[in-house]
């Protein structure tokens, strides 16, 4: 726990020091939302209908940049290798980075909500519910995303490899998050929200348990 807290402190400090990068990733996400509205055209009904899907696609695309960046800092001066040689627990290092990434993606997702509201003319009935689903979905993206960005950071084609590895794995989380967000925006007359939230939460638990176990093997020679 001592190592987890120390590593988490480091992650948050690094995120704060590189906040300009996070702002750039937010602009990328907002631009993606704008481009989706161009693709659909001036059909406000269609835009409102697909708003949740577009929000999550923007967050997914932005997440690949944020996740890749989080390991770029580790490889510059072999920071992570240095910590593991101290020795620090690989599991503590993983959970610190995954928590920091989940926090960053949650902030990013929440910041994209007003952009979505303005661009797609959406009215949200349960704003805090949407924020809650974003936090759950961000956790589902960050757990496997952190481990795959660690793998991709050691490869030559890291920019291509991360989305190739990540996207297929997060389809269930993405699907459930889109459905839950959509129900929170458009209303939930059939009471389906709970089952979709349960699905996201279940995948979060699976990813966070398994990825913590295998991270050591990924980062050790």
């Amino acid at each position: 726990m001592r190592q987890l807290i120390a590593a988490l402190r480091k992650e948050m400090l690094l995120q704060w020091r590189t906040r300009a990068q996070i702002l750039a990733i937010f602009v990328f996400g907002a631009t993606s939302l704008l481009l989706f509205s161009f693709a659909v055209g001036p059909n406000s009904t269609a835009l409102r209908l697909h708003a949740a899907g577009f929000l999550w696609l923007a967050l997914l695309l932005s997440s690949t940049l944020a996740l890749a960046e989080s390991f770029q800092l580790e490889t510059e001066q072999k920071g992570l290798e240095g910590l593991l040689l101290l020795p620090a627990s690989a599991r503590a290092m993983y959970y610190a980075k995954a928590i920091a990434n989940a926090f960053q993606l949650s902030i990013l997702g929440i910041a994209l909500v007003p952009v979505m509201v303005v661009l797609y003319d959406v009215s949200i009935e349960n704003l805090f519910g949407v924020f809650g689903v974003i936090v759950l979905g961000a956790a589902g993206l960050s757990a496997p995303g952190t481990i795959y960005s660690a793998m991709a950071s050691q490869a030559r084609a890291k920019q291509t490899l991360l989305p190739l590895l990540l996207f297929p794995l997060v389809v269930p989380v993405l699907l459930a998050s889109v459905k839950a967000t959509s129900l929170l925006i458009a209303g939930d007359p059939m009471g389906q929200l709970k089952s979709w939230v349960t699905l996201v939460t279940s995948f979060d638990l699976i990813y966070w348990s398994l990825c913590g176990l295998v991270f050591g093997r990924v980062v050790e020679d």
């Binding site: 120390a6 690094l14 001066q77 290798e81 020795p87």
Partner: protein
């Protein structure tokens, strides 16, 4: 270590290397560029695994008791093992918290003072020169209080006062009973500090003995690509 070999892809960087270092001795590791010095130290510090052979440090197996070995060993490598966006003191505090030693500001300033960086304690590492990065790496080594220390080209990127600083640090660690392995091209300088020496050539151990008896130029022939395997 017994019969240790390590390869990168198809190229063998270490071939069947065997030697023993008595506790508390200072050992110079000599050899041309690409002879396997850094690979040897990285294997011994558990940064990389050997492909063949076995090695033990203070009774702990390098392959199977890595965490125990890591508690005993510290390495000054080519990379500084720091975070550029953090200040010198923040980097050291992070390491101290992970190791579980005193991470107070006073303790870190004392450490930085030892390596001559107390005035730059609050500056980010990305404003440091290569020599200063080397010094912060040394502070990291001192913080670990390891009983076995690997120094990979410790004189590299340092100015003449830096050379004297490394000499003093080696003597200080030796006096405290720390076992040191020092890979360097500064053969004359290191001979005065080291008890024993080994020479690597194209991944193979070609000479070992007392450091003062090291052949001139380390008995080295022109460099070439390692051939064959273990």
């Amino acid at each position: 270590m017994r019969g240790v070999s390590r390869r990168y892809g198809r190229r063998w960087a270490l071939i069947d290397v065997s030697f023993t270092v008595p506790h508390g001795k200072v050992v110079m590791v000599a050899g041309r560029n690409g002879s396997g010095k850094s690979t040897l130290l990285r294997v011994l510090s558990t940064a990389i695994r050997p492909d063949l052979g076995t090695a033990k440090i203070e009774g702990f197996d390098l392959k199977h008791e890595r965490d125990d070995v890591r508690r005993k060993v510290a390495i000054l490598g080519h990379a500084s093992y720091t975070y550029d966006e953090l200040s010198a003191i923040e980097n050291l505090q992070l390491m101290a918290r992970l190791v579980g030693v005193d991470s107070s500001r006073e303790a870190m300033l004392h450490l930085l003072n030892q390596v001559g960086l107390a005035e730059r304690a609050e500056d980010s590492i990305n404003t440091f020169s290569a020599g200063m990065r080397k010094r912060i790496s040394l502070a990291r080594v001192l913080l670990q209080k390891a009983t076995v220390v690997m120094l990979d080209e410790p004189y590299g990127q340092l100015d003449p006062p830096g050379f004297r600083f490394i000499d003093g640090m080696v003597r200080h660690l030796r006096d405290e009973g720390v076992t040191l392995l020092m890979a360097t091209h500064q053969l004359e300088r290191a001979s005065a500090l080291c008890d024993l020496g080994i020479v690597l050539d194209r991944g193979r151990l070609t000479w070992e003995g007392a450091a003062k008896d090291l052949p001139s130029e380390g008995g080295l022939e022109p460099a070439g690509t390692p051939e064959g395997g273990p």
